[in-house]
Every structure is written in C-alpha cells, then in structure tokens.
C-alpha cells in the first residue's frame, strides 16, 4: 500500500507517544509505526510506581502512565505489529512490512523513537556452560508481569541496574528466593531509592565489586561461581559457589538504532546525536527518548518526544528551523550528554551523567561552573539548563564535571 503523511513516528513507547501528540497538536497528519500490538512500550510491563511526577505531577505506575497519556493523544493513524525495513532519507520514503504486506510510505518528516534494547548477558563473556535459566531483567519482567510465567525458584541478579533491583523485589513478592545482587563496579548501577525499597526492604544483599565468573549446569542452570574483583581481575581466594536455577542480568541498555546506522550520526554508545531541537543530521529527521541516550525517567523521554513531534510538524509544513551553530563536547568527568549540538536560540535542558561518583560535582561550561550537584552518581542524571543569553553556546562548547569535597 502507498501512504503519505506529514510526520511518521517510529516506535510507540513513551517518546513516540509524545512525538505523535506533539505533531498532532501542530496540525500535522501523523502515522505511528509500532512493532508490538499496542502503544506503551516498556511502560506496560513496568507495573511499579515512579512514573509521571514531571509530566502529570502525580506518581503513577507504568501502565497508568501509558493509559492516561494515550487518552490525552486521542485518535491517530497507526500501523501495529509492523516493522520498518528501510528508510530512504534522501527521497523521504520508507518501506514497512506487516501481515498485510509491504507499505511504501512518503513522509515530510520522521521521528525516530525506537527506544533501547537490553545489553545481552552474552556480552559479559562469562565462561562456563550455557544452560536454560538465564534471562535479561526486562525479559523476566515481561514473563512475570505480562505473561504470568515465573522464570525459576532461586535466582541471583547480575548487575545492579534499576530494572534488576526492581525485579529482585518483584520476584521476591512472587515467591522466588533472591540469593543476592552482584555488581562488578564498586558502586551501584541504579538509583539509591531502589536499593532502599527493592533490596533493603526484603533483606536482599548487594555485593559490590563482585560478579559471576563461571556458569554451571547442563540443561538447566545449577549454580554460578562468584568472586570479588580487584583492579578488574577476580580474586582466587574469594571464589564462592552459589546454587541457583535462575540468573537475571541487568547490565544496561543499548540505544536501538540498527535501522539507521551509517545514515544518522551517532556516538560510540550508539545514541543518536541530536541538537537542542531534537533534530539529527537530516533536517527533517528527529530523534527522542532512549535511542538518543538512556534516560532515568520516562517523563524525560515524553518531553523530548513532544518537542521532536512539534518540530517535525513544523518542518513538514515548510518552516525553516534555525541551523546548528555549536557542538557540545563532553570532557573530563562526563560520560553522557543527551544533546550534542546547539542552535543557541532558546534556553534548553540537557541531561548529563558524571563518569564516577562525586560528593559534590560542579558542572562546567567552557570551564565555568554553572551548577553544583550534591551526591552526583553515574546512575543519576543531572538536569542542566543551557541559556544562550548566559553562556556562549556557539562553536565548540566544552562540558565538564569536577568533584569537590564538602
């Protein structure tokens, strides 16, 4: 089938839903293309609370956030259970496929809101066998919260990311014994509040600087060997066998950009480089949410999505948006910056991550401190507003973070 829309949004999670609404509110014709049978993305399986404080000013569970936001969106055209096969960015067309066949879609602007996938357990390269019983945290979450399957009876969690800790609590409530959470880094990977409410509440031990060094079991996982790590190497004398039939890996997320690789500019962490208008290296292609960088809060993805949708609608209608004039360049102390280019027109928010825990971190623009963050941790994003009236955001703009003692 042939179709034509002002704005086509790829992915119907929090960011994509925001983009659909943002484009609709600016009178664009919008098509959403979503791989699953419904909108919401990972929100549907995140049945815990902690969502919506920024967007709805109230604390919601993931499914509530999804349903309330969906009501706000009203009606829109969508292709569900549909995959985009390729995008021809030079001719503004894409090919998508579903059970009705192949669709040729012409667009005025595109919003990429494809989110992230889980870093696979295999990426840890742990020696031993490869039996059944090893899951990523999000997959275990889908089984338990959407499909009513229990992954096992006695589990360990590898990695202390938020989803891993949330699954430690969830599995405990469902009767699975969680032997412990193992984190190779000397500091936790997730939010402090999740250590409190997911682990400490249920007396689940968190082992820092410790990880799995061997997998045991033929058909089903029978146990793992864990060891303390020092200077990146396991300590022989600290080795310990842990009996378990389930391993849940929570070792990070990777922006999902396979479809647009080599066409859209992105960093070594596979996040798309956008400017302060959420625009990519094509003037009619926008990106938002976790395919730009991995966010702490779903609310941030929604806000970015709404902006991307709004700007996509403007471009589709022939409005010329301001050009890029500056490059945000992360230097010492900074691991992640959400936006990489500036138009230096309006004040805008960026999110950064420091590269190590700091008691107090000063965030610096071109060496000048503009914000201090107390208890800065890599796991917690710092929100920074960059105002072109206050700082020079043209040319190369260096962002850095310095640890200051209290």
């Amino acid at each position: 089938m042939k179709m034509k829309y002002d704005v086509v949004v790829l992915g119907g999670g929090a960011a994509g839903m925001g983009a659909v609404l943002g484009a609709k509110e600016n009178d664009a014709s919008v098509l959403l293309i979503e791989r699953e049978a419904s909108t919401g993305g990972v929100l549907n399986q995140c049945i815990h609370t902690g969502f919506g404080l920024q967007v709805f000013k109230t604390e919601l569970t993931g499914p509530e956030y999804h349903e309330i936001y969906k009501d706000k969106m009203g009606n829109f055209d969508a292709l569900y259970e549909t995959m985009v096969l390729s995008i021809d960015f030079d001719n503004n067309r894409m090919k998508a496929m579903n059970s009705n066949g192949i669709h040729d879609i012409e667009y005025g602007a595109v919003v990429l809101a494809t989110g992230a996938r889980e870093r696979p357990f295999e990426s840890l390269r742990i020696p031993g066998t490869r039996p059944a019983g090893i899951f990523t945290a999000g997959l275990a979450q889908k089984f338990v919260n959407l499909e009513n399957h229990l992954p096992g009876h006695r589990a360990i969690i590898v990695g202390s990311g938020d989803i891993g800790m949330i699954m430690a609590r969830r599995l405990t409530l469902e009767g699975v014994e969680i032997e412990g959470v193992y984190e190779i880094m000397p500091y936790p990977g997730g939010l402090t509040r999740n250590i409190a409410q997911c682990l400490e509440d249920f007396n689940i031990p968190l082992h820092l600087s410790t990880s799995v060094i061997k997998i045991h079991g033929k058909k089903r996982l029978e146990g793992v060997t864990v060891a303390k790590f020092e200077n990146g190497a396991p300590l022989k004398e600290s080795e310990r066998f842990v009996e378990c039939d389930t391993l849940v890996a929570s070792v990070g997320l990777i922006p999902e950009n396979d479809l647009v690789k080599r066409k859209i500019e992105m960093g070594s962490d596979e996040g798309i480089f956008v400017d302060d208008l959420m625009r990519t290296n094509y003037e009619n292609v926008f990106a938002c949410g976790n395919n730009v960088c991995i966010h702490d809060l779903v609310d941030f993805a929604t806000v970015e999505g709404e902006m991307a949708g709004r700007n996509a609608a403007l471009v589709a209608k022939g409005v010329k948006l301001p050009s890029r004039v500056g490059l945000l360049s992360p230097k010492e102390g900074i691991r992640v910056v959400s936006a990489r280019y500036t138009t230096a027109t309006e004040p805008f928010k960026i999110y950064i991550r420091v590269d190590r825990p700091m008691e107090i971190a000063t965030v610096n623009v071109n060496g000048k401190a503009i914000k201090a963050a107390v208890n800065a941790r890599p796991s917690e994003m710092i929100e920074v507003t960059l105002d072109p009236k206050k700082y020079n955001l043209k040319g190369k703009v260096e962002l850095s973070a310095k640890g200051v003692k209290r």
Partner: protein, 122 residues
C-alpha cells in the same frame, strides 16, 4: 539524641534525609527533604514504615492473562507478605478498567487494591 541517614523513596528524586530521633527512638526532626512528603516518609520510616504495593492479579476471559494492580494508599510494610497472599489468590473477570477496585480495604488498612491497567474481554 541520635541521627540516622536514609534515602527518601517517595519519588525518583530520592532526597538524602538526616533524621533526628530522641533517646527512646522517637522522631524529632528531619533535614534534607525537598518537599513535605519527605517529612511524612521519615516519620513513618522510624515508627511504622509504609509502602505502596504493586503486583498483578489473574484475569479470566481477558485479552491479557494479568491485570496490574496497586494499593491506592501506602500500607504498613509488615503487612506486605499477607497482602500478597490475598492478591495472589484473587481473580477478576474481564473487562477490567483502570481504577477498578479489586480488593476493598485490604487487611483493614483503608487502602484498596485497584487496577492500574484496563484489560478487554477476549
């Protein structure tokens, strides 16, 4: 008097709280909270800790096998195990609508267990 440190879990901001107690362990004051909810949290945490419980219940004749649920108020942490026993044995028949009361006044806590998603009938 003594001071204990804790992280507020009311919202994802996660304020670092310093709670001062008297010698009998009674709550005196809290510092570090950025909103009034932090004070209530700290007070509860040193007397009778409370949590919102989220889980899911089985759905009969639904498009999905489960509907996610939460307690619409916090309940005492010590009752979570008992509340889970009730939630696990609860079944509802589709359609389920977001906000539907699934278990009323669970364990006399004055909190209702409510649906956090809609599930259509199959």
């Amino acid at each position: 008097m003594k001071t204990i440190e804790m992280t507020c879990i009311v919202c994802p901001i996660g304020c670092d709280l310093k709670v001062t107690l008297d010698d009998t362990g009674k709550f005196l004051s809290v510092k570090g909270n950025r909103c009034p909810k932090g004070e209530i949290y700290a007070r509860d945490e040193v007397t009778d800790p409370k949590r919102v419980l989220t889980s899911s219940v089985k759905v009969i004749n639904g498009k999905m096998p489960l509907a996610s649920v939460k307690t619409d108020k916090t309940i005492p942490k010590r009752l979570i195990k008992d509340a889970m026993i009730i939630i696990k044995s609860t079944k509802v028949t589709a359609p389920v609508k977001i906000g539907d009361v699934i278990v009323e006044n669970i364990l006399n806590t004055e909190a209702n267990v409510v649906a956090t998603r809609s599930v259509k009938a199959s």
